[in-house]
Amino acid sequence: MRWIRVPLLLLLLGTGIPSAADEFPPLSEGPDATEIARKQENVLRGDSAYMEATMTIESPRLPAPRVVTMRNWDDRRNKRSFVRILAPTKDAGTGFLMKRPNLWMFVPRVERTMRIPPSMMLQSWMGSDFTNDDLVRESSQLDDYDHNLLGVDPAPPGHEGKRAWVVEFLPHEDAPVVWGRIVSWIEQEHYSPLRQEFYDEDGVKLRVFELGDIRESQGRWFPHRWSMQPLDKNGHRTTLEIRTIRFDEIFDDSIFTTRNLKRTER
């Protein structure tokens, strides 16, 4: 999961839609699969980004999906990130400051800052399918996978009319990745990922990660809707809708301070 990462990176659980990954005849020649994967990663990441997003969490627990709105300052170069929750009202003002390896949280109603202990880093973040660790972990790595071009799919699910490379990601033996393989549909035109399917080593599909709403933003064609569905948990889905994103911002150091955590008007 770590291989995909946007400012506010997320761990996703998936649900599944039947895949046709194996049905594509291999191309006799074509672009290098690793090259495709690199271009895809470049679409998703930048050295820094400011983002405003809405996270929608669907769960059997909830009569209606829960919607969280947030702002995120992500300074990848300096390995630090800041999140402020805007809505719902109950959580508004809550802030997270990540400075590797630490994660602080500020809760405005009681005006307290607390450092989340390392042992809790793998707990769910904000009730989503992302963990605290996903907020602080470094992005990984094209390097963890081998890439095979499976073929070209003229109509990936949910993106009819688009042509996509179908690339298989096979994790290296010693990569800290539990998946057996990941199959990714990558749009030919802009190299934006459209859909990713996660398989265990027995070939059972466990998660589906879908991306959509690909629009131009600051000259980049970027998917503004991300949706993760775990197939072994019925009714779960986390969707992130990115309303604003600005890449390669220069951030002031004062953003990434515990004092800033307490400044809720921001």
């Binding site: 590797r100 390896p101 630490n102 390392p118 042992s119 880093m121 793998l122 660790d133 602080v136 972990r137 994790p171 033996e173 010693d174 990569a175 800290p176 990745v177 539990v178 998946w179 057996g180 996660f198 265990d200 080593e201 466990l206 072994d232």
Partner: protein, 430 residues
């Protein structure tokens, strides 16, 4: 008052006479020996009583002590070892911050020349999160040097599927219970995430090399074994280790070794023996031992009762015979001395039979009593499901002494009575 004095004097004279006859009169001894075999049935009954009593006591003690020994040995051989050496402060606040630098070189140097040490093994202990594609679980990480560890614990023998660690890279051993929880099997890839010594979260991939089942359900549920170097890399701790586990030749001399190591290694380390490492185990053993003594006492009394019964009856039975003997001129003290010799011989034969019976019983139980036939999954308390009897010298001596004393005393009383009865009275006895 006078009466009492006279009687005491008479008794004193009587006892002296008995002792004299007992000591000097070889003839009585011969008669007694012959008497033992003259009445074969009675002898058989008495011998059975003593033999069963002795064997019962010896076996029950051996089984009980066997249970205790096994509890302790299981804990020692599963995880503890006899001694563990840690950095100072580890006991109060275990964690990667308390570590022995240089791979515990100082400790190893001391152990290599210390007496009574048969093996030592370096370990790294910490916590982590083990993730499979479907689930994750908090685990205790125990990193070992597979070869050295095999000389301390029986982990290698606990592997039920797959194989023990053998130097192959990125291999992990997990408990059967944990494998079920994570829904992984032999060869599956898992990711271990843990906080390293800098507080950074690190993650590495491992493949399940083997599944184990130990007598501790705690280990089975939540402990994973790695190779030492891999854990040192994961935790970014260089060649430091968390502990040195030590096995000794003689468990009873562990405290001496411990004192020696403390002197040798100084303030920088904590040396704890297995009793200090597992206080609950020691409590269990104490509790068990105390309960066992109550049971021993019962078996002792039952044995004494059985022996006393037959001895009393076998001598009472002879009231008439003794009457005949005294009436033809054998003195009272000599009769008592003769009966005492008889009792001694009987008890002696009984003891020999008892030892033979005990030895037979112990031989039959040499592979242990398998409790698992009656109950499933007896593992979780760390109690072994097979009990192998263990005999201690004192457990042999105590029943022997009790049997001998009871047998002789129980024979003495009716003999004294019969010898003092007037012959006419004794002859009237049925």
């Amino acid at each position: 008052m006078k009466d009492l004095q006279r009687r005491l004097r008479e008794d004193g004279v009587f006892v002296r006479a008995v002792l004299l006859a007992f000591e000097r009169d070889a003839f009585l001894r011969r008669i007694a020996w012959r008497n033992v075999w003259r009445n074969g049935r009675r002898t058989v009954v008495v011998v059975i009583a003593i033999a069963v009593g002795i064997a019962g006591t010896v076996l029950s003690m051996a089984i009980n002590f066997g249970m205790v020994v096994q509890m302790v040995e299981t804990a020692i051989a599963t995880d503890l070892g006899h001694l563990q050496i840690h950095a100072r402060g580890y006991e109060d606040d275990p964690g990667l911050a308390r570590r022995l630098d240089d791979g515990g070189r100082m400790g190893i140097a001391a152990l290599d020349v210390a007496e009574n040490v048969t093996a030592w093994a370096p370990r790294v202990r910490s916590d982590g999160l083990l993730t499979s594609p479907r689930a994750s679980a908090g685990v205790s990480v125990l990193a070992i040097d597979p070869e050295r560890e095999a000389r301390i614990t029986v982990l290698a023998d606990s592997v039920t599927q797959g194989a023990y660690l053998d130097g192959e890279k990125r291999r992990i051993l997990i408990g059967e219970a944990l494998a079920e929880r994570l829904r992984v099997r032999l060869g599956s890839k898992v990711v271990l995430s843990a906080t390293d010594v800098r507080g950074d979260l690190a993650g590495e991939a491992f493949r399940v090399r083997g599944l184990f089942r130990t007598p501790s359900s705690e280990l089975n549920r939540s402990t994973v074994y790695l190779q030492l170097e891999e854990a040192q890399r994961l935790f970014a701790m260089g060649d430091a280790i968390s502990e040195l586990a030590v096995r000794t030749a003689d468990r009873d001399r562990v405290v001496g070794l411990q004192r020696h190591l403390v002197e040798e290694l100084g303030e920088g380390v904590e040396v704890r023996n297995w009793e200090q490492l597992a206080p609950l185990l020691v409590y269990f053993v104490d509790m068990f031992d105390q309960m066992a003594w109550i049971v021993y006492a019962a078996v002792f009394i039952a044995m004494a009762f059985g022996i006393a019964n037959v001895m009393l009856m076998s001598v009472f039975e002879r009231t008439r015979e003794i009457g005949v003997i005294t009436s033809i001129g054998m003195s009272g003290p000599r009769v008592v001395a003769m009966v005492t010799w008889e009792s001694l011989f009987l008890v002696g034969v009984g003891l020999v039979a008892g030892f033979v019976l005990s030895a037979t019983g112990l031989f039959l139980l040499r592979d242990g009593i398998d409790l698992s036939r009656w109950g499933e999954g007896l593992n979780s308390m760390g109690v072994p499901s097979t009990i192998v009897p263990v005999v201690r010298t004192k457990d042999l001596v105590a029943p022997t002494v009790v049997a001998a004393v009871t047998g002789i005393l129980a024979g003495l009383w009716p003999a004294v009575r019969a010898s003092r009865a007037r012959p006419a009275e004794a002859l009237r006895h049925v």
